[in-house]
């Protein structure tokens, strides 16, 4: 029975009250939600005591939806129906996040289509056509509800994990899914880093750690240095299309050939083959042999034995593929294999004995498997969420992660010029100067790609950024400084300024494989039962929460150092703008609140910069004191 607690959405509680936050592992095969309660990070279970939520969503037609009160179901119940209802039961949707139609291999189980004006493929179901983002949002909503029911209150925010090797489009898609689910994302963190957090804090060992993360659909390897609570990722590499699903596919393909199953295979048979393959794989982790049984489309009962030896042969090429990123990461980090203290195995697929064998062979050390590879990511994320939301102001933990793939610009002749190199610590900002080539030119476009290759065709197109509002000048006279910034979530943003006039360009982003702002808006409306009213109510609530944050932030700053850093006039200006904001906040004019917030930002901008510089100076003088003490 859930605890009932009356609390206002998003209201910042009294300073010392525990703020509710969660860590979410949105996995290809299974998802989990975890939270820190009474100082302990633990995964949260459903009413049946199950912690793992299969990342499967089944959609229903209007008639069924009316009976159930909603058009879909998430988890074990959906998974049970996968074979019976293959077109409407969506599994492993993570493989479609941030991907376009051309990326999707002949996925003959789902019917994929492209709506007009969208670059995002949609899966056709009886309930409608849904993008991977919307399906993921349904999974996130389910986890959010589980968390709020268990914890007895509204969540302030969540840390959501992504594979380290996810590109910008895949990360943005994850953030969009969270937005649709009404979840505030405190941070996107990389799955190996989250595992390191869960693991590192438990054993307290400083040094170099390797995280080998083989999940359902993705493979990551990260090399981290842990030093007094600071997790520094030195390098990361991987394959965002290699995982347990591929192992299952190898077995399925073998079954089709050994059992002489004729194509075309029905969708239902394909799902059955997938399920039986997965079951066989899992059985072979302990047993030397397993029997696989299939009901063919002609209703024949087929049976065949698969030995561990045969299985190893089938998957050996896949395991070899994982060693290539291992070498790349070692090289990029400059670490030698013998400097590694331990190798942590993460992800259900690391239970496969051949994987453990090959990893041990490569690193010359027995990998660690003591921590439940299914839960460790969510637990690490929960710990970080607890810190980010402000429950542990004295905690010294710091995560310094890296950009996994180089970012570049398209230049003449279909070439890509790298602007930010892979494995650069984030946040990172780089500027590139451009000029105009026509007299009076007021706009230009920049095509950004991600990848290591030299040709545009071999890299991943991220987006086209259209810069507008360049002051008209003679060709070649303008100096447009375009700044590429990757934030702590690994997401790119672009700003541009014409240097001679100081005019900032307006930027319009056209993602190559993502949702436009309009599309998200539309989806939000569709997901809320009273559409426009609810969207407006949500927007108002968000502005009010932000207003509270701003007021609290500025007031607490003023208490600390207004005398040292502000003139009497500046202080008065700031206090006036805060009063104005406080007044607007009490009302329900969302736009007025937004404008009042902007005014406060304007008058506190220099103050905020000064404070940031003071932070740096204080950190350094703290260091100097330590020097003396030695």
């Amino acid at each position: 029975m859930a605890l009932l607690q009356i609390s206002e959405p998003g209201q910042s509680s009294a300073p010392h009250q525990h703020k509710l936050s969660v860590g979410i592992d949105l996995g290809t095969t299974n998802s989990l939600v975890a939270s820190v309660r009474n100082g302990l990070a633990e995964t949260l279970a459903d009413e049946d005591g199950e912690h793992l939520l299969p990342s499967v969503v089944q959609y229903f037609d209007a008639e069924m939806a009316a009976k159930l009160g909603k058009n879909h179901v998430v988890g074990a119940k959906a998974k049970q129906n996968a074979v019976a209802d293959p077109h409407n039961t969506i599994a492993s949707v993570k493989r479609f996040m941030g991907r376009g139609m051309d990326d999707i291999e002949e996925s003959s189980v789902y019917e994929m289509l492209l709506d007009d004006n969208s670059t995002v493929p949609r899966i056709k179901t009886v309930a409608g056509n849904f993008s991977a983002i919307e399906v993921s949002a349904d999974i996130l909503t389910h986890l959010k509800t589980r968390a709020e029911d268990t914890l007895g209150g509204d969540l302030i925010g969540a840390v959501i994990t992504v594979p380290a090797y996810f590109d910008d489009a895949q990360r943005q898609a994850t953030k969009d899914a969270a937005k649709l689910a009404g979840l505030k994302v405190l941070r996107l963190i990389n799955e190996p880093t989250a595992a390191a957090v869960a693991y590192g804090l438990d054993t307290g060992q400083d040094g170099i750690h390797v995280i080998f993360d083989l999940g359902g659909g993705t493979f990551d390897i990260s090399i981290l240095r842990l030093n007094k609570g600071v997790f520094e990722v030195m390098a990361t590499a991987g394959d965002s299309a290699l995982g347990g699903d591929d192992i299952d596919q190898a077995i399925s393909d073998w079954l089709v050939s050994e059992l002489a199953i004729k194509s075309p295979l029905s969708a239902s048979l394909q799902r059955q083959l997938g399920e039986q393959s997965r079951a066989a794989k899992e059985a072979l982790s302990a047993a030397d042999k397993t029997t696989i049984r299939i009901n063919s489309d002609q209703n024949e009962r087929l049976e065949i034995d698969l030995s561990r030896t045969q299985f190893n042969q089938l998957i050996s090429p896949l395991i070899k593929k994982t060693l290539i990123p291992c070498r790349r990461a070692l090289r990029d980090s400059g670490i030698e294999k013998d400097e590694v203290i331990d190798i942590v195995m993460v992800g259900g697929s690391t239970r496969v004995p051949l994987v453990r064998e090959k990893v041990e062979e490569f690193f010359g050390k027995t990998p660690l498997t003591s921590i439940d590879p299914d839960r460790v990511v969510a637990i690490g994320a929960a710990r970080q969420a607890d810190i980010l939301v402000g429950n542990k102001p004295d905690d010294e933990m710091l995560l310094l992660d890296v950009l996994p793939l180089s970012l570049g610009l398209e230049t003449m002749g279909g070439l890509v010029e790298k602007v930010i190199h892979r494995n650069t610590t984030i946040p990172v900002a780089r500027a590139q100067d451009f000029t105009t080539f026509k007299d009076g030119q007021t706009a230009m476009a920049v095509h950004v790609l991600q990848g290591e290759r030299e040709m545009v065709s071999d890299c991943r197109s991220l987006a086209r950024f259209e810069l507008r509002g360049i002051p008209p000048m003679v060709a070649g006279a303008a100096r447009i400084r375009v700044t590429f910034q990757v934030d702590a979530d690994g997401l790119l943003s672009v700003s541009a300024k014409e240097e001679t006039s100081g005019v900032e360009s307006s930027i319009q982003v056209k993602p190559s494989y993502g949702l436009s702002d309009n599309e998200i808006e539309q989806m939000l409306k569709e997901s809320l039962s009273h559409a426009q009213e609810d969207v407006d109510a949500r927007k108002l609530a968000e502005q009010q929460v932000e207003a509270d944050r701003v007021i609290e932030g500025v007031n607490s700053a003023l208490k600390t150092d207004s005398e040292q850093l502000l003139s009497a006039q500046e202080l008065e200006e700031i206090q006036l703008s805060l009063q104005e904001l406080a007044t607007c906040r009490q009302g329900s004019d969302e736009i007025a609140i937004k404008q009042a917030i902007e005014k406060v930002e304007q008058v506190t901008s220099l103050y905020a910069q000064r404070r940031m510089d003071v932070n740096v100076q204080m950190a350094l003088s703290g260091q100097k004191v330590d020097d003396f003490e030695e």
């Binding site: 941070r187 710091l398 946040p427 944050r549 905020a608 932070n615 350094l620």
Partner: protein
């Protein structure tokens, strides 16, 4: 609000950088401005923290790497390297051509990995020699020393590219087996 990278990380402007001190200072400074400290703060603070953290990261990357540090220190003294500028020293260029030919022949050898290891060790030794020299030149800081420093940096750039190519080949060969 332009501070130089040495100041930002609490170091004197000196080519000879104490790496442990640099790393320790970096961690402390990053702790105080990193976006993780502002995850639940206002939009303005979050934006500023991302910018500051990015600047601190750039400072570390520049000062940690002997070549980038040298280029940076040259720019602080007003000496800029043009895009396609190369070292003019003919003896040096000849040496570089020989090394490149050697690298191209490595694949055919019976002992490619050993040959690569040796090449890398030689390149590293030469680079260390240049770093030592730069330490002295930068502390002189007169016009002549700066020009010599510039030439040394141009040579370092050549060798660094060669080092990259050796490492690329090593990785390529390892993936083939």
């Amino acid at each position: 609000m332009l501070e130089n990278y040495f100041e930002l990380l609490g170091l004197p402007v000196d080519y000879n950088v104490d790496l442990p001190v640099l790393n320790a200072n970096y961690l402390e400074v990053q702790r105080s401005v990193h976006p993780d400290k502002f995850a639940n703060s206002s939009d303005l603070e979050r934006r500023l923290s991302v910018q500051k953290a990015a600047q601190i990261n750039d400072a570390l990357q520049t000062l940690k790497n002997p070549l980038k540090r040298a280029v940076y220190q040259l720019s602080l003294s007003g000496v800029e390297l043009k895009d396609n500028e190369t070292a003019m020293d003919p003896e040096f260029l000849m040496q570089q051509m020989e090394l490149r030919e050697k690298l191209a022949a490595v694949k055919q050898r019976d002992d490619p990995f050993e040959a690569l290891d040796k090449m890398l060790a030689d390149v590293e030794a030469t680079l260390k020699g240049y770093q030592h020299l730069l330490g002295q030149l930068f502390s002189n800081a007169n016009e002549e020393a700066l020009q010599k420093a510039k030439n040394t940096v141009l040579k370092m750039q050549f060798l660094s590219r060669l080092q990259e190519e050796c490492l690329n080949l090593e990785e390529e060969l390892a993936n083939e087996f």
